[in-house]
């Protein structure tokens, strides 16, 4: 017991000596910590883009809503459904009903050019033609300014994300599409999901204007329960009168984030990986000069009987401490600088703009700190081994 306590106090003593001399080497220590802070900031910031985009799309879908499109279509844009198709679809089993019948909305999905505020160049914005039940089918959707559109009128409501990113969408503004004038009558919020990037209007107004006859592109159905989905899917896909695919809304949108997620994480890990390698070299340099400056001191410790173990631990501890300090700074920096940052990008799957907020999650920060620790340990390892291996006599002669 006494021996263990002695050993521990030896480790603590050497480690404390090592750490307490950091101020003497402030310049190079700061440089190393700074390097690690950079690595962590980059990793967390870049991955928060992917995280935010995924959250916007994943947060869109409910598993109690089904979306029906033509068989073989991969997105709403490429789908087409006739009026007869939609009638069969809304009568499917498991669809929730109220006094007006099935709670469903047959919709049209078109893309219109609206200038982006930041660049002034046109961007693809989704204009969705919907039926009256549309708002109640979507989770958490509510009008936050102005009012809803009146059926049969050239009126649109715009998501708060779209209103923020694109020009001329304030309540009361007027727009021109296909020779008709449209009035923006309201803004809606849907808890950060994809709908907020869209503009909505009455489907029956959109059909003639975009030469769609009486066709639609998708049908959104509110289900009686999440479990009702399978029954509906089996029934519709085996119905010989229609050729459709039935998806859970949540799956449909989660899948759309895949390409961008792969793209961003691929680039993010490449950049952060390269930086981490650079930071390891920086840390090695710092610790190497720290060890060099204290060669005499370390040799003296070893000459008076301290083993290699305490020295090794002390150096690794110091480099990990520096790296973690950098990691914390980087994590906080990324969180302060990027969390909630409002951005917009092209969702390739729907060929239209999606507005979303960057998300710095605790998981990302932890991943950043873990990387910092790895950099610190790797950076300290070699100088530490060198310090332990150096013969005491040679080291003392370096006086």
């Amino acid at each position: 017991m006494q021996e263990l306590a002695n050993a521990l106090s030896r480790y603590a003593l050497v480690t404390w000596t090592s750490v307490s001399t950091i101020p003497q080497r402030l310049g190079s220590s700061l440089a190393a910590a700074f390097g690690v802070a950079g690595v962590v900031t980059v990793l967390v910031a870049v991955l928060s883009i992917a995280e935010g985009f995924q959250a916007a799309l994943a947060g869109t879908g409910s598993n109690k809503t089904a979306i029906v499109m033509r068989g073989g279509s991969d997105t709403e844009m490429s789908s087409i459904l006739s009026m007869d198709d939609t009638k069969i679809i809304v009568d499917g089993p498991g669809v929730r009903r109220d006094v007006n019948g099935p709670i469903a909305s047959a919709e049209l999905f078109v893309v219109v050019d609206i200038p982006k505020k930041s660049t002034g160049t046109p961007a693809n914005v989704t204009l969705r033609g919907v039926q009256p039940a549309a708002i109640s089918i979507r989770r958490d959707m509510r009008i936050v300014a102005g009012r809803g559109f009146e059926p049969g009128k050239n009126e649109i409501i715009v998501g708060v994300g779209a209103a923020r990113q694109f020009a001329g969408l304030a309540v009361g503004s007027r727009l021109n599409w296909g020779g008709a004038e449209w009035a923006v009558v309201g803004h809606f919020d849907s808890g950060g999901s994809v709908w907020e990037s869209e503009a909505w209007c009455d489907a029956s107004i959109l059909q003639p204007l975009f030469l769609r006859g009486s066709t639609f592109q998708s049908v959104y159905l509110s289900l009686e329960s999440a479990d009702a989905f399978d029954e509906l899917k089996d029934s519709l896909t085996s119905d010989p009168r229609v050729d459709v695919m039935v998806l859970r809304e949540s799956d449909y949108f989660a899948e759309q984030s895949e390409i961008l997620h792969l793209l961003i994480t691929g680039l993010g890990f490449l950049v952060a990986g390269l930086m981490a390698v650079g930071a390891v070299f920086g840390a090695v340099n710092t610790m190497y000069s720290a060890v060099a400056a204290r060669t005499r001191e370390i040799a003296t410790l070893r000459a008076i009987g301290f083993g290699g173990g305490p020295v090794l631990v002390a150096i690794l501890f110091e480099s990990s401490l520096l790296a973690l300090a950098g990691g914390v700074v980087g994590g906080i920096g990324a969180w302060a600088g990027f969390n909630g940052y409002q951005a917009t990008t092209l969702n390739w799957a729907s060929f239209s703009q999606v507005t979303f907020a960057f998300r710095v999650t605790p998981g990302l920060v932890l991943a950043g700190l873990a990387l910092a620790l790895v950099v610190g340990l790797l950076g300290g390892l070699w100088p530490a081994i060198r310090a332990v291996r150096l013969p005491v006599a040679t080291a003392l002669r370096e006086l």
């Binding site: 870049v46 792969l262 930086m275 920086g282 092209l346």
Partner: protein
């Protein structure tokens, strides 16, 4: 000779430091290489777009079509040399993850318009004669192992055939290459006639027109004339230069490219700062040695040269190796997202400015210590012993 020997002994004085300084400079410039490639990928071909080409699209958005009858009308406008049209097909090859762009085009006028697509003459002839033939870019051909003569089924998403099936069969008749770096080699191009004849509905509609003008200076006037001709029709048009078209697309990707760029630029300069500091520190440690050199008769100029040569050498070796390594990695390793970026190259222009940064690093890291070393008086230097 003594100069070189001194340089050598300085660098070997702390071998580990020299090696790690070199390595961190190397990493910085590898990063710089990838930064340039990503930057170019996100600009979506703005640099390689033809200065004498205009894009005519539906005014509402690119998704909305234009009538095929517009082609001859556009050609009559003063200043227009030729036109061609394109349709986005958006089909799926085996799996939605296997993405590559497919376009239905008018073959002859397309290849005349896009002279940067190089196709062997016999393949061009074969393609023109085969209604279900297709031309595929080198990069996509390599990625999926397509060879001339292969039959490729693609699932139509927008387009279905009259017989009710959504599987479109194509024969690869040729593989095109770009005539210079930066040309998109991922496209899959087939005959508009095949699409128009075999698909349900949408007959006589095209996605957009590409127009060649005789004088790029007059592009704006020609664009205006084109749009004026279709005003107040059910299909109003919007005409822009190809460059502006590509730019507005790049803007749509928007913040992501800009943020990646900003972050990587910050990183690059951070690493330079840190390694520059290490290099400067190594000179400071040797102040007394420099004093000794001066005592034995080294001139101020020689001392300045010695210190500067050291930092220049480190920068050149580390930076040069980094640039070379990233060039090789980008050329042979391809893009890190396994094919989502159509163009992923390290442009020569950026390679040249990379060498500029290498020289700048060497100069900047060496400047202050070398000037200080030059001004150092012997008495002062030796007092530090």
């Amino acid at each position: 000779m003594t100069q070189l020997a001194l340089l050598r002994s300085t660098l070997l004085r702390r071998k580990a430091r020299t090696v790690f300084t070199l390595l961190s400079i190397l990493v910085a410039f590898v990063l710089y290489g990838y930064l340039s490639a990503i930057d170019l990928a996100f600009s979506l071909g703005v640099d390689v777009s033809g200065v004498d080409r205009l894009i005519v699209q539906n005014k509402v958005s690119l998704i909305q079509p234009l009538p095929i009858a517009y082609g001859p009308r556009i050609e009559q406008i003063q200043g227009v040399v030729s036109t061609t049209h394109m349709n986005w097909f958006g089909g799926i090859y085996q799996d939605t993850k296997n993405f590559f762009p497919q376009f239905a085009v008018q073959s002859e006028s397309f290849l005349d318009m896009y002279t940067e697509y190089v196709v062997p003459p016999e393949q061009r002839t074969a393609w023109a004669a085969n209604r279900t033939g297709a031309l595929v870019g080198r990069k996509t051909a390599e990625r999926y192992g397509f060879k001339v003569g292969d039959r490729i089924p693609i699932q139509g998403t927008f387009f279905r055939k009259r017989d009710g099936s959504s599987t479109w069969e194509f024969t690869i008749d040729g593989i095109y290459k770009g005539d210079r770096a930066g040309v998109d080699e991922t496209n899959f191009i087939f005959h508009y006639e095949y699409l128009d004849e075999a698909s349900i509905g949408g007959a006589g509609l095209v996605g957009w027109y590409v127009v060649r003008v005789d004088d790029p200076e007059r592009s704006a006037a020609v664009a205006k004339a084109i749009d004026a001709g279709f005003e107040n029709s059910p299909f109003e048009s919007r005409t822009t230069t190809e460059k502006a078209f590509a730019q507005s697309f790049a803007n749509q990707l928007g913040d992501i490219g800009a943020i990646l760029r900003a972050v990587m630029t910050a990183v690059f300069f951070t690493i330079l700062l840190v390694s520059g500091n290490t290099m400067a520190q190594s000179v400071r440690e040797r102040t007394s040695e420099l004093g000794v050199l001066k005592t034995i008769g080294f001139t101020d100029g020689r001392i300045l040269g010695l210190v500067l040569a050291e930092s220049m050498l480190l920068a050149l070796v580390g930076g040069g190796a980094g640039l070379a390594l990233s060039w090789l990695a980008i050329k042979f390793g391809g893009d890190p997202t396994s094919g989502f970026l159509a163009v992923f190259i390290f442009p020569v222009r950026d390679l040249v400015s990379g060498f500029g940064y290498v020289l700048l690093l060497g100069l900047a890291a060496g400047a202050i210590p070398s000037l200080r070393a030059r001004r150092l008086t012997i008495a002062e230097a030796l007092r530090r012993l």
